[in-house]
């Protein structure tokens, strides 16, 4: 099954490579990986989306922990967490589709970030599932290009 793993790492060159190389060397699936600085500029947070059975996931967590540059590894899958992804999607703008496009933007609470005579670029933020659905719904309307940020996630704060 799909797992969402949050990893705090040293903010150093090569760290992303160490993590990605470990996944490829051991044949683990790596669906998406995103990385950015945290409140402490010496530490970055990586969010990794991967798939595997319990045995594989447990190996992934241990192998991540073993890397010297990783500080904390948490599997968020079964913990309360928030996850978000950013989608940028460019569509062909035509007379017949215009209406539908705008109503879908409304449905998905999207934002128009660029518009030209023949094309429109929209930004949508949401859970990875919502992003998948957004893409599915826009697909019949003529997608020109897609960019997804990969998922970022955090555990939910305490009450």
């Amino acid at each position: 099954m799909k797992h969402i793993i949050s990893v705090l790492v040293e903010n150093k060159f090569g760290t992303l490579n160490r993590v990605a190389a470990m996944f490829s060397a051991r044949g683990f699936n790596l669906e998406s990986i995103s990385i950015g600085e945290t409140e402490d500029n010496e530490i970055s947070r990586m969010t990794i989306i991967t798939r595997g059975d319990d045995h594989i996931i447990s190996q992934i967590l241990k192998q991540l922990n073993r890397l010297v540059d990783t500080l904390k590894v948490v599997d968020l899958t079964h913990k309360p967490h928030v996850s978000r992804e950013l989608l940028l999607i460019t569509l062909n703008l035509g007379k017949q589709t215009q209406q539908q496009i705008f109503s879908l933007i409304d449905v998905f609470k999207g934002k128009v970030v660029d518009i030209k005579q023949k094309s429109i670029t929209i930004e949508v933020v949401g859970s990875p599932d919502k992003i998948d659905t957004t893409i599915d719904m826009f697909r019949p309307l003529g997608i020109k290009e897609i960019a997804r940020s990969g998922t970022v996630a955090m555990n939910r704060g305490e009450a």
Binding site: V9, N17, Q63, R66, V68, D69, L71
Partner: protein, 573 residues
Amino acid sequence: MHTTGKKMKGSEIFFECLRREHVDYIFGYPGGALLKVYETLHDVKDIKHILVRHEQGAAHMAEGYARATGKPGVVLVTSGPGATNTVTGISNAHMDSSPLVVFTGQVPSSLIGNDAFQEADIVGITRPITKHNFLIKDIKELAITIRKAFFLATQGRPGPVLVDLPKDVMNSECVFHWPENIEIRGFKPTVKGHENQIKKAAKMIAKAKRPLLYVGGGVIASGASDALRKLAIEQNIPVTMTLQGLGAFPGNHPLSMGMLGMHGTFWANQAVNQCDLLISVGARFDDRVTGKIDTFATHAYKIHNDIDPTNIDKNIKVNLPVVGDSRHFLEEVVRELPEKSEDRQPWLDDIEKWRKECPLVFSVDETSLKTELVIDEASKQTGGDAVVVTDVGQHQMWTAQYFKFINPRSIITSGGLGTMGYGLPAALGAAFGIHDKPVILFCGDGGFMMNIQELVTAVYYKLPVKIFLINNSFLGMVRQWQELFHEEKYTFTDLEKSNPDFVRVAEAFGVKALKATNPAEAKTAIAEALAYNDGPILVDFKVVKKDMVFPMVPAGASISEMLLERLNPKTMV
């Protein structure tokens, strides 16, 4: 010497750090990116630099030294090809958990990434085969990074660490500061096993009727041999060892069952299948040990102690994991155990029965020579009290079977990576560290050619290494598989027509050399070699061409399906 607070050159800081890490030997080879370092080395008298003839030799030599002494091996090579030549040696140390600190020269910082002369991204190349590695970008980071490198290489599960030294960093200056205490926040190995898990392990051991200790290199790395001996002997538990674990328990003790796995003893593999409790200490359930996973030790409750949590449940699902140092684990288990445990005599009787059923034996014929005899004879003549280094292949497995290792750190062999060419340089490294017992190398004729240039090093430093060349003019282990599983198509494994005369080659290097073609000559040659201490000596043992290592578990088969002998005896030459 008071150096803290003094302004020093990068190259001076480098040697000062090595001094503080108590480094005796550096195995190295100079080059353009290291000129400043070698300039400083000119006046360094307390650290000995050993000049190798190929950087791969330096890495294996450092590993041989590390495995023989327990201290980290240090390598110093130049940028580009110097660095890439160490890759096999680093990978070998990574697979076998040997502490190595490899220093590579690098082009000046300003040229990195420009495809400069002798530039290679060695940090990128070695990321997956080091425990960790560093590129030093600022001289202020030099001392702390070297400190971290030694710390990482030796703490927890040992392994190789690489430090890349750009030329300009070594030329620049800064005030030296030695960080006595360091902390690496992402590296905190669990040394002490969980108390309750250890208590539970002791309980399981006390009530087991058919317990078996399966121990690996972790016992040797952690210095746990005494604790192991205590546990096994007090509790009457038989011990089987992995290739890297040999010597952890004395091979001449009745409770020793020798090696298990693909070329392990019949009785050890039978015991694995029949035991009710498998106590794995510092071993990693390698595929050469387990054979087919689903049929491995199916009747046993499994305890697994290892310092590296990734080894737990990696290949075999265990019932009771204990992450921690093996010595701590064994000492605590011994402390927890009651004096009286279950009666194990019936279990030991079963094992004795298997031992008699399929003993390790070889035939002796007065006119031809078998490797088994050479190894058995060397074992007898030394009483097992030697440091034995091997290369990779049939002779390696026969060494594991027939040499009776009695001390830890007495077998040095490439287990995980299986690196041909490892033996000769590793033996030299061991000889730099060990002076009170003979260092014997068993090496096939194939692997010997792969780092033969290091004979120069042996001669130059007058190392009294006994080079026992097991010469069957074949890549014997590959040939064995070709015979058994590939329709006897001996494609490119017969070296008869291309091998040189090894006695003459050795002599040209300045190595004393003998030849033996039958058991009588072999015995005399071994005695002569053991008595000779004036530098290296080589014995060219002309052994039978088509001998096979048995017993054998075919790859992927269950360890209960051992081949005990050749199926078709007529192919024997």
